[in-house]
Amino acid sequence: MSELLNYIWLGVLAVFQGPEIFSLFGFGIPAAPVMVLGGLLTGIAVGATPGLAGPMAMAASLPILISVFGFTPDALLPVFGFLIGIMKGASVGGAVPAILFNMPGTPDALMTTLDGHPMARNGQPRRALRIAQLSSVTGDTFSDIVLFICAPFLAVVVEAYLDLPEKTALLILSISFVAAVMGGSVGRGLLSVGLGLVAAFVGTGQALTPRLTAGVDGLADGFPLVAAILGVLILGEIFKGIEELAHEKAAARAEARADGPRLRDDLEKGDIRRIAPYIARSAVIGTIIGALPGVGSTLAATLSYSLASRRHAARRRDDEPAFGKGAPEGIAATEAANSAVSGANLIPVLSLGIPGNAAAVFLILAADSIGGFNPGPAVFKFTAPEINPELVTAFGIFTLMSIGNLLNWTIGGRFMRSMGVLARVPGQILLPVVLLLTLTAIYVQETSLFAIWVTFAFGLVGYLFRRIGVPVLPFVIAFILARPLEQTAREAFAATGGDPWFLFSSLTSILFMVAAVASVALLSRK
């Protein structure tokens, strides 16, 4: 226990005694908390701008952050701080245009439009925004607490009880599950995963001659991680957005116009008591769903909203608005659920090294670029008396998340309510500029036009995937997990003396493999 407390304390110290960003009245201001604030405000602004999303801001900011803080382990916490800030801010900011203009700023804020916008049209936009912020931050905080408890526990269990064959089977299960649950069909999910695996295997291997390069020298080291991930995830989305905007030149934008009489526009007496049970249920639903890799916040919001709708219909008084007509409970249910996903999404990435969503992908990308931190079960080794620096970083990340929540509780709401103006920035300007920004960010990191061409090619893959209904996140997750999977399988095969059935050598690995096959087989019949 004292070891645990010691590491928690070291994590807190790493945040507050890390590199200084500037000096104020002779006192050095630590970079990491300031970066959380910067990331949070950026994230809220990005979330409040329809057409932009947290991952885009993460993609553009990563090379700048690395240039500022360098490639030393000292850079990890400030860089993670900014990325975590964006993740938290974007989740809150997405509600702004959803409520004010009936346009979800992020896909997971879609359900917020159902009650948030009617409440705004009824003359209470400020009340709707405050309920959204309160619910979102509560859900996020709850989910973070679950992460702080579960991630170390899960990692210790994995490290203690799983050997190489079981770890290989667990990676196969994760990839199969992601393929099965994401997108419209299991076949398309598997296609995405298969292509992600194949792309990651290009130019790698253990022999002196790199494999699958087709004679192209530039591929000898494989596809650059940044180029492949940003191409599929960000550029593909931008390409699709540009095409859609070209076809919707005259699309009218909804305005926030109050239809009814002017009402008192702030939290009302009894609001918090009314929404509290809905927030609590939705936070639990969002956290459970978020802990499963690949299952997105949209599902959490939809499920929470429909359950809350049933409960509300059974208990509603006649003078209270129904769901879909501006019910505060509706806003609370969706916002608490979709924000609760974000913290829990980091459980698989921190404890197992398995990214479950785009934000987790960027944390892995940052860790990979900087070095000195490899998310996975080995992080949570409580060594004494020598210090495990990765564990200190992990508790530093938890500290940063707590700072992010604190800032979100205090200044997040005020900043969020001033962001309505961003919903009016036209996508016709935004998308080409974000495209150029992303390409520039990739170039300054890779310093090669070859990386730009590779990014563009992966962007085309991302566009085609979106057009034919193939989900993109399984591709990215498989691309990241492919090399650890191959390495673990090689070691497991060698360690078992070349046993071809090593994946079925213990009850645990058999269970994982059965679950992997079952997830694909059962979900393809739904």
């Binding site: 398309r188 298969g194 540009i242 998308l431 563009f456």
Partner: protein, 187 residues
């Protein structure tokens, strides 16, 4: 093209390409086979992982052929999608080529006019040469994409393209002298 037919073609194409890769590409482009024996020990070779990857792709193709589709899911690209793709690839390639070569081309012109004795490589760390390719290529990209979306070329699009490149220079180049804007890492 009906949705069923599109799925059938997509699934069939995926299966055929995956089998071709397993039977022809992987064996000819991997230094070791699926299993290798080194110093008496059996080890997984370099061909194993790609074969497994392509097998997953082939399985996915089969599933796409047989599984029921959800409403709204189609493997068909419309002619409008293809037109967009061609135009978009054209705009992108033109912009990146301008980004890469306009700086060296301008230096060659300046040299021919007797304004400088240097090559672009000598000048790529000096203003204004270090920005020429980025400004010309970046402005072209933003302007052409904005014009495509608006259906006409406007001076406003050119201005926004210029402002965007200047803003990116201010963000990436002015505060960080060690960062290289495109194309200066390649020249």
């Amino acid at each position: 093209m009906s949705r069923n037919k599109a799925d059938l073609i997509l699934g069939g194409l995926v299966v055929v390409l995956a089998l071709l890769a397993i039977l022809a590409w992987v064996p000819n482009d991997s230094a070791t086979g699926m299993i290798v024996k080194q110093r008496g020990r059996l080890l997984i070779g370099d061909a194993m992982a790609p074969v497994v990857g392509f097998s997953v792709v082939a399985l996915a193709g089969l599933l796409i052929i047989v599984e029921k589709r959800k409403a709204g899911l189609s493997a068909a690209l419309s002619p409008s999608n293809l037109r967009f793709l061609l135009l978009f690839i054209g705009i992108f390639v033109l912009s990146i080529l301008l980004m890469r070569w306009s700086g060296p081309a301008l230096v060659t012109l300046a040299k021919a006019a007797g304004l400088t004795d240097h090559t672009y490589r000598d000048l790529r760390d000096t203003i204004p040469w270090k920005y020429t390719g980025f400004i010309i290529g970046g402005t072209t990209l933003v302007t052409l994409l904005m014009s495509y979306m608006a259906g006409r070329v406007t001076w406003r699009a050119v201005l926004i393209g210029l402002l965007a490149t200047f803003a990116l220079i201010a963000v990436f180049d002015l505060p960080f002298p060690d960062l290289l804007l495109p194309p200066n890492g390649d020249t």
